[in-house]
């Protein structure tokens, strides 16, 4: 029998229809697991398969949708039984295929839920191995409503089998997955991972899928699958009834097939009549496999961006090079400043974010993985993974929720042999630097030759050239007067000769010159004019942003110059964007203490700067900041002000505190008053803990914040590593308070002498006593008061 991919190359193939509806008709109770019937009622399962085969389908889905080790103790047994049902139904029919049907785990992956990515890969992997053992012809990953879980399933399928992998996602009425991905993002992700066919199933009827199918067919180079529901469910006399009948269903499917859908079928609410009608109406329509699409896509968990249309900005700020504060933050394991920088670059208009944590004295793979995981939780911009560390690159590409931009490969054999296998496995577009064993060629011709070598090597690895984005390298014009010209010529030559997109780290050009921004902005304009497709740059650089928006307006990338005009409003008063460098005297509003109390951040910082010119830092803390906080705390305790106001005051005080600390000699800074804070294992709520943190920090305590869902061992390690005697634990749910007790028990055993404060919505004094806490804090201020007494 021919492989299913050979079959789909010749003609349209058909999946079967829904299993659940038919089984309920045979007596399966609502809420009961249909997979159990593989063992208890194999004849009934086989009869459903047989009915669909009789109706003419080519591929039957094994009755394995919900099987995994989270739901069943014996997945292998159920999978083998499912295969026997399918095989007995196929019997001696030829040209029929049985797909191992793999549905979602039913859990949400981290960081939205608590299932770790690698654990998901493991769960799916066990099923795939059993499917191979049972003799499946292909793996169908279906009804996935989350891009990240889909990626885990595909990796598991690829790593545990050589079978063809088909993937269909559940797009809802808005045309997106439940966790936000649009069809183009899924094409980018799935083709990057090397799936054999992709598409849509479940959720809605074929009448609502036009847009989704159009987008899939617009971007996909592999066959597109369409397996919709029979419309929307309702119920009559307790039985589910779907809104679209067989003939109507088939009529809706015809235009979808004409738009390019290659493999058709149906999902929930359907019967063999639907398949028969579908086949009758679509089997004689013209059929062709999709063309190879030219688009260079990179994606995040929500959307894809196309490189090679409107030029794109890649924010370069998440990088320790030349940034003392970023280096310090990385060394102490504090990623929050980098995450905030990511958000600010997104606000400033970056389309992608470069992520680089290259420091010699940190565990780069671990830190890069953590940063990518945390960044992709809070920003929907696609990421450019920037590291020279092969292991860091491999691990970051693996856990990235989308198709990344990889920075970078170069023309050396070693680099290409390292990077291209990773791109082949995980997917990605790659920045290719025009440098090889012989260095950087002096001429545009030379750089184009290196680019050509890289493109050919990529193709040898099975990576299409559209995935290569050549960076012909901007070199300091102060060192070589012709360097800018060579780079610009190289952009034109490479685009014309190789047909690939280009990128540049623009600001290198001005190295060694004064007023670099002027040179950067001019060069950027020239490079865009030469055809540059993306720039790695600082989105806070006003000059470069002005050049960018002007270019788009001039080159018809900006209809009605709307974007230019909107941004220009912000440039009219450039001083507003920059914090006032010279403090202004405006003492008439009541001074620093009053500004802090009222939570007026800018004013407080201004007041503090004025005071610093005449007053020792410690005096400012003692006479202004602490009294302001005490007053805010007191009015909160007296219930004349409220928690949000206390928080704003505390944040203002913290900002002032940071400013003043910077003016203090290091020796005078008191970092002995430490508190370890954590939300306990199993609990993903962190709001209470964050409130306590900001209050403690504003009162000058050093907080070691371990985050949420923190294991008891991690708390112990932090206590020991920081020699910290005071721990604050938070839990919000009755189900997670026991983890709080476990944490206290471990501390009592391994770190006697540690004092533990507990708090959280469900806690009471009685409960705190029962789990052995030293102090129960009913609100955040009580924690602060306790810490003050503790360190008094």
């Amino acid at each position: 029998m021919m492989n299913i991919m050979e079959a789909v190359a010749r003609r349209r193939l058909y999946f079967d229809g829904g299993m659940g509806t038919l089984l309920q008709g045979m007596g399966l109770a609502p809420g009961a697991a249909p997979e159990r019937w593989n063992l208890s009622h194999p004849d009934r399962i086989a009869s459903v398969h047989r009915a669909y085969l009789d109706a003419g389908c080519d591929i039957i889905k094994m009755n394995t949708f919900g099987i995994n080790e989270l739901r069943f103790d014996d997945p292998e047994t159920l999978i083998e039984a499912a295969a026997q049902c399918a095989r007995s139904a196929i019997g001696d029919r030829t040209g029929k295929y049985m797909a191992y049907d793999m549905g979602p785990t039913g859990k949400l992956l981290e960081p939205l839920g608590n299932l770790p990515f690698e654990r998901a890969v493991e769960i799916f992997g066990r099923c795939v191995r059993a499917a191979v053992q049972a003799g499946a012809d292909l793996i169908l990953i279906e009804t996935m409503s989350d891009a990240y879980e889909t990626k885990a399933a595909v990796l598991a399928a690829k790593e545990n089998s050589t079978l063809p992998v088909f993937v269909t996602n559940a797009y809802d009425g808005t045309g997106k997955l439940m966790t936000g991905a649009d069809p183009a993002a899924m094409v980018a992700l799935l083709e990057g991972l090397g799936v054999d066919a992709l598409g849509v199933n479940c959720s809605v009827g074929p009448d609502q899928l036009t847009q989704v199918v159009d987008t899939l067919c617009r971007y996909a180079s592999v066959p597109v699958i369409v397996n919709p529901n029979a419309g929307l469910p309702s119920s009559v006399d307790g039985k589910p009834v779907y809104s679209i009948g067989p003939a109507e269903f088939a009529a809706y499917m015809v235009p979808l097939a004409q738009r390019g859908a290659a493999i058709l079928g149906v999902c929930c609410g359907t019967t063999p009549e639907y398949i028969a009608a579908l086949i009758a109406d679509t089997q004689n329509l013209p059929y062709a496999l999709p063309e190879r699409k030219p688009d260079t896509l990179v994606s995040s968990y929500t959307h894809a961006v196309t490189i090679g249309e409107v030029p794109l900005l890649i924010g370069e700020r998440i990088n320790p090079t030349g940034k003392k504060k970023v280096k310090e933050a990385l060394r102490r394991g504090d990623l929050e400043p980098l995450l905030r920088d990511g958000l600010m670059q997104a606000d400033a208009g970056a389309h992608l974010l470069d992520v680089n944590v290259g420091l010699p004295d940190i565990d780069e793979p671990a830190v890069l993985v953590e940063l990518v995981q945390r960044l992709q939780a809070v920003t929907d911009l696609p990421l450019q993974l920037d590291t020279t560390h092969p292991e860091a690159m491999a691990r970051a590409m693996r856990i990235y929720n989308g198709k990344p931009l990889v920075n970078s490969v170069n023309g050396t054999t070693e680099s290409m042999r390292t990077i291209f296998p990773l791109v082949k496995k995980y997917g990605g577009a790659v920045i290719a630097l025009t440098i090889d064993e012989n260095g950087i060629p002096d001429t545009a011709e030379g750089r184009c030759a290196v680019a050509e070598k890289i493109v050919r090597c990529a193709e040898d690895f099975g990576i299409p050239r559209k995935e290569i984005i050549v960076d012909p390298l901007a070199m300091a014009v102060s060192a070589d007067p012709s360097s800018a010209k060579v780079t610009l010529d190289a952009i034109r030559l490479i685009k014309a000769r190789l047909g690939v997109a280009t990128s540049l780290g623009v600001s290198n050009i001005s190295f060694g010159l004064p007023a670099r921004e002027v040179v950067n902005a001019s060069f950027f304009g020239l490079a865009l004019g030469a055809g540059l497709d993306c720039a790695i740059m600082n989105p806070f650089s006003v000059g470069m942003m002005q050049t960018y928006h002007a270019f788009n307006a001039l080159m018809a990338h900006d209809p009605n110059c709307a974007s230019y005009i909107a941004h220009a409003a912000g440039w009219a008063t450039p001083s507003a964007a920059v914090p006032a460098a010279t403090p202004q005297k405006s003492r008439d509003v009541g001074g620093l203490k009053d500004a802090i109390c009222r939570g007026l951040r800018e004013e407080a910082l201004r007041e503090a700067q004025v005071l610093l010119q005449t007053t020792p830092p410690l005096t400012i803390i003692e006479t202004e900041i602490i009294p302001a906080l005490d007053e805010a705390g007191r009015t909160f305790e007296q219930k004349t002000t409220f928690l949000p106001q206390l928080l704003v005051t505390a944040e203002t005080a913290s900002a002032v505190f940071d400013l003043i600390k910077a003016a203090m000699p290091a020796a005078a800074q008191d970092s002995t008053r430490k508190v370890v804070l954590a939300t306990v294992r199993g609990d993903i709520h962190d709001i209470g803990k964050n409130i306590v943190r900001v209050l403690l920090e504003s009162f000058g305590f050093t907080v070691i914040d371990l985050g949420r869902d923190v294991a008891a061992e991690t708390v112990l390690q932090a206590v020991q590593a920081h020699a910290c005697k005071l721990v604050g634990l938070s839990a919000l749910m009755t189900t997670t308070v026991p983890a709080m007790g476990d944490t206290i028990a471990l501390l009592r055993k391994e770190a006697p002498g540690t004092t533990v404060v507990v708090g959280g919505a469900v806690l009471t004094q009685e409960y705190a006593d029962r789990i052995g806490a030293d102090f129960y804090a009913a609100d955040a201020m009580e924690t602060v008061r306790f810490a003050q007494k503790f360190y008094a």
């Binding site: 839920g113 608590n114 439940m178 307790g238 905030r340 928690l643 949000p644 704003v648 997670t736």
Partner: protein, 195 residues
């Protein structure tokens, strides 16, 4: 047994001032500037989905609601006089959780306000869904797992009854927290109008 699945644009939901005040623990006008930032963002982040099952109530050794079996004096008291119940789940979706994580990075005060707004919004969604599901029939208030003696332990069976993961993307962590976090499950009794 009757199933319903539907979604609402966040723009049609009306936040109750009382609920908002309770969530903020403060008169809303005192934090108006922050509310002006976060109200529109939270609304924009939410994809409001609801699924429900309407089922007869059977009482023999506990309450039986479809495939869900519950032992709770509190719920029994609430459902007293009802022959039918609605079991429902509602969620603002994963986008709101991401927005809240973003807010947490910006600052705890911003996180606090955004979280309070999101909590008020999920309540508004439940209010609206309750009205639509009950469709003018007399009914009890919503009673949720975690209230009184109705244990969180029934959540796996409750979500299974609703097929909530597939229908609205709602899942449970190992410690039985709902994800996305701005989600609610509840039981509503439909009063027998003849009683």
């Amino acid at each position: 047994m009757k199933r319903t699945v539907r979604s609402y644009p966040a723009t049609v939901l009306t936040l109750s001032p009382v609920e908002l005040r309770a969530r903020l623990k403060c008169p809303p006008e005192q934090v108006q500037a922050l509310l002006d930032i976060w109200l529109p963002q939270v609304r924009a982040s939410a994809v409001c989905r609801v699924c429900a099952v309407e089922t007869e109530i059977h009482r023999n050794g506990g309450l039986h609601l479809g495939s869900l079996t519950v032992e709770s004096h509190g719920l029994e008291a609430v459902l007293n006089g009802c022959d039918c119940a609605l079991v429902m789940a509602a969620t603002l979706g994963a986008g709101t959780d991401r927005l809240l994580m973003q807010a947490a990075l910006r600052s705890p005060a911003q996180q606090y306000i955004a979280d309070a707004v999101a909590s008020a919004l999920i309540e508004a969604l439940c209010d609206r869904a309750e009205d639509d599901l009950c469709a003018g029939r007399p009914h009890t208030h919503r009673f949720s797992p975690g209230y009184g003696d109705l244990p969180l332990g029934i959540q796996p069976d409750l979500l299974n009854l609703l097929d909530a993961h597939r229908q609205i993307g709602l899942a449970l962590t190992d410690s039985l927290l709902m994800t996305p976090t701005k989600s609610v499950t509840a039981v509503i009794g439909l009063r027998n109008p003849t009683l």
